[in-house]
Symmetry: C2
Subunit: 248 residues, 2 copies
DNA sequence: CGCCGAATTGATCTTCCTCAACATTGGTGG
DNA sequence: CCACCAATGTTGAGGAAGATCAATTCGGCG
């Protein structure tokens, strides 16, 4: 399963923490996280990070790359629940509820920080500030899914697509994966379809529509927003405000 | 806004805690929660409990009745994100993220336990077990939304409805709001439609289909499951297992 | 160059929406 | 207690959004 454990990055030298979007860490907190950290993991594009119903003993923070959470019906229909970007926790449900009801797959080659999930309890006992951060992140994830749910339930395909592009752009920008109206998009139209709840055929046609309206341009691995204002209008977009957030 | 504060129920005499579904509480924990509790609130059917963008200083536990979380687009299209039953936290996103991106409305007359949200931090500091419970509940809520998301994205209207009925029945049963294949259903077809992401017209027709298949019966305020096995099949249902859960 | 997976396009079918009329229910006031 | 009203639910007809099926085309890559 294309996974390799290494111990490269020390938390103090964590390349993520410098990003403006993350709340600064005290020396003390860093030391604590270091103790909590079990190692580092590299996962290749397309490989599974956490499998549904699989009781892995780990909890992760995505350090580098894209991943996505998804969930399938018995007959194979699959829904992408959300995309994950660096700084986000993976496997929290598993750690807390002792069961995973979705799968997480690497969209690109990824690097992850590995934690032992049994130690999560010690965080709650010894480091309330970190425990609070974890809960904060869980609540934020819920917000993201809430708005995705609103999309699937109420928006048309075109609105959904426009919305997803803007949403991913904004999130990717905070970690340097997008900027200058350009989003490095490692997902295929297939992934997009599964997130939007429409077929690939219809996704292709919908992209074309936005393209013809000169709102976006689309190349294999790059999405460019040509007219943000108009795109937001199509999307009925409500921006995610970008206050500093915690990270573990 | 039809809200009245009282101080009736002492946590020790909380009518909910006896339910088998909830994890037993130590005397010590009860005392702590008592201190945290600010009072009790009664909200009438149809009234708003927490409003989007409104920075209420409170966090609630639903004690009695049904509520629902929903979120709307500017043009009025509205999506029900989830229904809330006794024992569930309301307003956690607000308490943690300091902003609410959805509204919570009482579906029936409800009673709520009121907490001051600033005190949430003291829970994390002084009572890690309770903090853990809060996070647990957040993670579980995420699971529920995940599976709702799967429905909206991948299931047909008929499957969605069948699924929602089973899901609500199972959840309601754990708190005594359903049993014997009968669910006391305080929601209108309108609410159901907004949860399923389809129009009321189509909801009505879809109910009729399940009715004609003799899977359910439907009266104004009561849904009866006539053939659970067949209904599960239609729904592609995956049951929520019912392990004991925490409550605050 | 040839292959394979991903993307595009067209034609047709199904699901669900829209609009509009009508029925039913529960509540309210005379 | 009945009559009326508003909200909710039902039914029909026609239309639009999106699915399905199938045939190409495109774009890396060995």
């Amino acid at each position: 399963m294309n996974q390799a454990v290494t111990y490269k990055t020390k938390c103090h030298a964590c390349p993520l923490r410098n990003k403006a979007i993350f709340r600064p860490f005290k020396e003390e907190e860093l030391n604590f996280v270091m103790k909590f950290k079990a190692g580092e993991l590299t996962v290749e594009e397309g490989a599974t990070i956490v499998l549904e119903d699989n009781n892995s003993p780990h909890l992760y923070t995505l350090l580098e790359g894209w991943a996505f959470r998804h969930k399938a019906l018995q007959d194979g229909r699959r829904q992408v629940l959300n995309f994950a970007l660096p700084g986000e926790l993976i496997g929290l449900q598993l750690a807390l509820l002792d069961e995973m009801q979705h799968t997480v797959t690497a969209l690109t080659d990824t690097t992850l920080c590995v934690f032992h999930k049994e130690k999560i309890w010690s965080i709650f006992q010894d480091y309330p500030a970190l425990a609070y951060s974890i809960t904060w992140m869980a609540a934020r994830e819920e917000q993201l899914i809430d708005s995705h749910l609103l999309s699937l339930g109420q928006r048309t395909a075109k609105e959904r697509l426009a919305n997803l592009i803007l949403h991913l752009y904004d999130r990717a920008e905070t970690v340097g994966y997008a900027g200058n109206m350009t989003l490095d998009a490692p997902f295929s139209q297939g992934h997009l379809s599964e997130a939007l709840g429409i077929t690939t055929v219809h996704t292709s046609r919908t992209i074309r529509k936005l393209h013809d309206l000169e709102l976006i341009s689309w190349t294999r691995d790059r999405i460019r927003i040509l007219n943000r204002q108009a795109l937001e209008k199509v999307a009925c977009y409500e921006p995610v405000e970008a206050t500093q957030r915690p990270m573990i």
